[in-house]
């Protein structure tokens, strides 16, 4: 078991390293931070001084090594825009993002999974078709389109809810809905097919033949088996707790990590970008690790010993 976990952790760390390296390469090669931050018509000496101050004149591999070394020491650099440590900038914004993504996750799971289960139990009925139509609509409409439509209706036309910013509790309603509905649709569809697959298995018929009432068959026999594939999707959603809000935060002018990232990329503010990426990949990777371990908990077939021989 130890080796199992060690392998997974090793792979996780490697993924993070690769993500950060990739981002480093792309950002450095795609534009000059000096020009972005200082402005295109600053005098050449000022640009040169900026580059020197930030170590941008060194060869790229040297910059990478320096950067990597700094990370290992816990030094994530400073924002080129306002000089504050990148970690601080990012950490300030985390609660704001979580204020959106956690309720959105609750919405996805709380709406999507029951809807999917209900649809599976009432397959091909009117309710099933209606739920699935909404689900498909939910995940085909991009979150920013949904967000803009919501703003148009509820903020502009009806004036019930604010169109942006983060002043009151009312501000989170529209962004959470915009983010959550799409995920709820995905989960509903996924849960439905996982349930249908499980309900078609022979052991469900055995349970009924044993005299288990239908409700108990669904709760005690079907759901535990359907949970196994569903956990993957939920795990993915948990993993994107940090990253998933980028678009919605921009639409609703929400001061979260996503907005910070967008601005930092536009400015080629390398330290901040890399810090956000580190955070995002760490979250995703940890969540995947937890899902892997959950598999072992939920599905005894994955736990270890080879089955005995015999029978064909």
């Amino acid at each position: 078991m130890l080796r199992f976990i060690a392998l997974r952790v090793g792979r996780a760390l490697l993924t993070i390293v690769l993500v950060v390296t990739f981002a480093f390469v792309v950002l450095r090669l795609s534009g000059d931070p000096a020009l972005m931050i200082m402005s295109p018509d600053a005098p050449p000496e000022a640009l040169a001084a900026f580059r020197q101050a930030w170590g941008l004149d060194a060869p790229i591999w040297l910059q990478y090594l320096k950067y990597f070394g700094a990370i290992l020491q816990g030094e994530l650099g400073q924002s080129m825009r306002d000089g504050r440590p990148a970690i601080q900038l990012v950490a300030e914004r985390i609660p704001a993002t979580l204020t959106l993504t956690l309720p959105a996750l609750a919405l996805k799971v709380g709406l999507g999974i029951p809807a999917g289960i209900y649809a599976a139990l009432h397959r091909n009925s009117m309710t099933d078709r209606v739920v699935m139509t909404f689900a498909v609509a939910g995940f085909t409409v991009p979150s920013f389109v949904l967000g803009l439509i919501l703003v148009l209706i509820f903020a502009v036309q009806l004036g019930w809810l604010p169109s942006g910013g983060a002043e009151s509790w009312r501000s989170i309603i529209l962004p959470v809905i915009a983010m959550g509905l799409g995920g709820a649709g995905v989960l509903a569809r996924f849960t439905r097919s996982a349930m249908l697959e499980v309900l078609g298995q022979p052991y469900i018929r055995t349970a009924s033949a044993k005299g288990v009432p239908w409700g108990a068959v669904v709760r005690g026999h079907a759901l535990p088996n359907a949970a196994i594939p569903t956990v993957t999707v939920v795990g993915f959603m948990v993993g994107s707790l940090m990253a998933g809000a980028v678009v919605v935060e921009s639409v609703f002018s929400w001061p979260g990590v996503g907005r910070l990232m967008v601005v930092a990329v536009a400015n080629r503010d390398l330290a901040v970008v890399q810090c956000v990426l580190l955070l995002v990949s760490a979250t995703m990777v940890t969540s995947n690790l937890i899902v892997d371990v959950m598999y072992g908990v939920l599905d005894p077939r994955l736990r270890g010993q080879a089955p005995a021989g015999g029978g064909h």
Binding site: Q305, A308, G309
Partner: protein, 324 residues
């Protein structure tokens, strides 16, 4: 000279015990020697884990034996993937249990029957069409059915199509691995009759692998009974099925439920078939054998001729028990 001969063939797989256990060598096939004569059928029977399917794959040349040699038409079987091996595919063909899985969903049956001809460059387009038509007649498949896709045919029709494709290149040997196990009794009979008719007409040899003793008795000229990778009894099917000598053959034959009177008293074995990764010492069958003695746990019995010429691997039949 036999058409196909396996001499001391073993096939060993390296696996692990459980997810983190130490590596263990699994002898799926253990020192198996057999021969298939031209135009004759050798049947191999046994239960799951006995190694019969692996033996079939080694005989075809799809897998290389870890020990021993495979000779086909007097020459050593080339290594898989080499050009000589590819050319040899025309002489050896495989038919197995799942006809739907053996065929491509997207192509019509006629196209798939013609495919081996195209691959081996036999005849031109017109010749191939004629050959396909002749093959369809031989297997009793209507020409209009051949224009359909595999999933549009019944199980029996599909198996006929698979056979037609296998016969396209006029092979000398057909390896059949459970070819009728998935078919209903009445369709089974049709396919079995077709196989024996084709054998008579074309002189094809067959290696017929099955767990169904009744079917094997019907089609085989020689039979080998396998247990945990070894042959335990080999010889004339009539003799073996009427009066099995090896205790396992006896249990196996007596286990077959038959309508009507029973020839052999039922021997019910205790316990489960063993795990090939966990071989018992000495004779692999001794833990379940109703007549095992001390010697059986110590030495593995060799396959030796019995009184009527068949081969048996059992200390008690040999008469060597007590002299170990």
């Amino acid at each position: 000279m036999s058409l196909l001969s396996l001499d001391g063939v073993s096939r060993v797989y390296a696996t692990r015990r459980g997810m983190f256990g130490r590596p263990v060598a699994v002898r799926a096939v253990d020192h198996v020697s057999l021969a298939v004569e031209a135009g004759q059928t050798l049947g191999i029977v046994g239960e799951s884990g006995c190694g019969k399917s692996t033996t079939g794959r080694v005989a075809l040349g799809i897998e290389r034996p870890s020990e021993g040699s495979v000779l086909f038409e007097g020459a050593a079987m080339p290594a898989p993937g080499t050009p000589e091996w590819r050319r040899m595919r025309a002489r050896l063909q495989l038919v197995y249990q799942d006809p739907l899985g053996a065929m491509d969903r997207r192509l019509t049956v006629a196209t798939q029957i013609a495919e081996p001809l195209a691959i081996h460059g036999i005849g031109d387009a017109a010749d191939r069409r004629d050959r396909v038509a002749a093959l369809l007649r031989d297997v009793g498949l209507r020409a209009d059915l051949a224009e359909r896709h595999p999933h549009e045919l019944s199980g029996g029709q599909r198996q006929r199509a698979v056979l037609a494709r296998a016969l396209a290149t006029d092979p000398a040997l057909l390896v059949c691995d459970e070819p009728v196990s998935a078919l209903d009794v009445s369709i089974q009979a049709q396919v079995i009759n077709m196989l024996t008719d084709l054998q008579e007409a074309r002189g094809i040899a067959m290696l017929f692998i099955s767990h169904d003793l009744k079917v094997v008795r019907q089609v085989s000229h020689q039979v080998a009974v396998m247990y945990l990778g070894r042959i335990v009894e080999q010889g004339d099917p009539e003799a073996i099925f009427a009066d099995p000598l090896h205790p396992y053959s006896r249990a196996l034959v007596s286990a077959i439920p038959v309508p009507g009177p029973r020839r052999i008293a039922r021997v019910v074995l205790t316990g489960d078939p063993p795990n090939p990764a966990d071989r018992p010492s000495g004779c692999a069958f001794h833990p379940r054998c109703p007549v095992a003695v001390a010697a059986c746990a110590l030495t593995t019995p060799a396959l030796r001729p019995a009184a009527d010429g068949r081969l048996v691997a059992c200390h008690l039949v040999d008469g060597v028990a007590g002299t170990a």
